[in-house]
């Protein structure tokens, strides 16, 4: 409960700051609209030549693209700013402040900073999902519920991935390159994972779970996800979260044991 209040406070503080820079905000929103629109255009260009792509029709593809922007938007909303700040803290030695607060260090570090304008990216993603939905299925409570669960799992999986990657900062300090790899793989999530060659497909479903994080919610809202699939996703997500958290705390222990 208290952590929710803190989260809201972090969010509100950032919001107040971003609202001050109206031109900036407007430009960022414009950027987002342009990016999403051009991505939709890309899909339309592809579907100019076909009605089906590996079993996904236009509506399903749009739903997938929308889910992609929902997940990417979440990542850029809170994960990217926070983890970038975290790496800076390790570099400058200011991580110590977070460690000495009477609250979970992991929470204070990884969910601290927001880029509120990215909510618009998530919003646009939702719009695209809604645009594609009528062609695919009718939205019932079951689909909506599984969609939300799958989406939350998707968010958590990306969080777990970033958490695990960022842990290397404790040992190597500069890991911008590692993060760059992550972002490049993330981009592959805009298309269904099964179009990629084997090695990429496997990577996107496991080590970089963007494929799972995006595709499964898309399937869920289209009514193509069964309970077993959902169950596996939830279990996998919980496992990934605890594993990543454990790894991060390991890095933290090493940091506090070895720093001068």
């Amino acid at each position: 409960m208290r952590y929710l209040r803190l989260l809201a406070l972090f969010f509100r503080t950032e919001l107040a700051y971003e609202l001050e820079y109206r031109t900036n905000l407007a430009l960022e929103l414009l950027q987002m609209v342009v990016i999403v629109t051009t991505s939709v255009a890309a899909v339309l260009v592809l579907f100019n030549y076909t009605t089906v792509l590996n079993g996904w029709d236009l509506g399903a593809m749009l739903v997938l693209l929308g889910c992609f922007y929902l997940v990417q938007g979440f990542g850029e909303l809170v994960l990217q700013p926070s983890f970038e700040k975290f790496m800076e803290h390790v570099r400058l030695g200011t991580l110590d402040f977070a460690l000495l607060k009477p609250a979970s260090a992991q929470f204070l570090v990884t969910l601290r900073h927001f880029q509120v304008v990215q909510l618009a990216q998530m919003g646009l993603g939702a719009v695209v999902v809604i645009a594609g939905l009528p062609r695919v299925s009718t939205l019932g409570p079951a689909e909506a519920a599984t969609f939300v669960i799958a989406l939350v799992c998707g968010f958590t999986l990306i969080y777990a991935l970033l958490l695990a990657l960022s842990t290397f900062a404790f040992w190597f300090v500069r890991i911008d390159n590692l993060m760059a790899i992550y972002w490049s793989f993330l981009d592959a999530g805009r298309f269904p994972v099964d179009i990629y060659p084997g090695w990429l497909r496997v990577t996107l479903s496991s080590a970089v779970p963007i494929g799972v994080a995006v595709t499964v919610p898309a399937q869920a809202i289209s009514g193509r996800l069964d309970l077993i699939g959902l169950g596996l996703l939830v279990v996998g997500t919980i496992a990934a979260f605890f594993l990543a958290s454990w790894f991060w705390r390991l890095g933290l222990r090493s940091y506090t044991g070895a720093s001068a």
Binding site: T13, G93, L100, K101, P102
Partner: protein, 333 residues
Amino acid sequence: MTDAVVEVRDLRKTFRVSERQEGLAATLRSFVRRQRRDINAVAGITFGIEAGEVVGFLGPNGAGKTTTLKMLSGLLYPTGGEARVLGFVPWRRENAYLQQMTLLMGNRTQLVWDIPAADSFRVLQEIYRVPEDSFRKTVGELTELLELQELVHKPVRNLSLGERMKVEFAAGLIQSPRVAFLDEPTIGLDISMQVRIRRFVAEYNRRTGATILLTSHYMDDVVALCKRVIVIHHGQLLYDGPLADLAERMAPFKVIVATLHDGAAADLSVYGTVVARDEGRITLKVDRQIAPERAARLVNDLGDRLTDISVEDPPIEEVIDRVFSGERVGTAP
């Protein structure tokens, strides 16, 4: 020692660093077999601090003061020995302990750069669960003591270094801690700001009775604030006692620097031991007791030839080095 706020017994911290010589051969060799060296940053220190004390940790860079502070604040696990602060084992970082302490590091900021300090205060209030009325009271006091009225509503990045330090201080005290660890709090600040910060710390201690441990390599910080000082060098405790006695006991001499028009030729050895001669500037070592008298004589005798004169304490590094090497500092003839 039972009521002590801080209890430290034989505290040790050893770091293992890998060493590598230069050159390709050595690089390749180190791939196969790392050469490690142990650094005893803190080599067994023992002391206790009572509530309300303001204690200075003095020592040159690399002496082990910051390492000690980090262990007491909970950021580092020691290699040996024990310590308790407010009854807690610091490196367990229990929330109940963290609630009552604070760590302030000079030239490192915990405030978010882009937002006004006031917003950061609110976040801290929430993290430390400070009730609204205490919060207002505390912030009010801090604002008054540190003269923050103009500063708290500006984004932190728009503040000058000195202003930022003041605001940092306030941020570090939102929770009204019982123990405050200050690591090099005045580093990088100009003289007037250093003075202001020192005055603030003294006043804060007076008003709240908070126990304060500060590390510094500036003698002035310690002189201004601490009745008691602990000297650390090479990880060992060299002196623990009243400040007043330290200079006397450790280095019973003063340094007189006289600048003359014709300094190159002047012979001032009658006034004290000539230590250095740099164009017009002549540095003398003089026994502490007689230093004022010697300085007065210098001024009298030299008159116009003298363009500048200063009477200083010996540099702390020199004092400590001499102490560590067992030497008593000589007296003037």
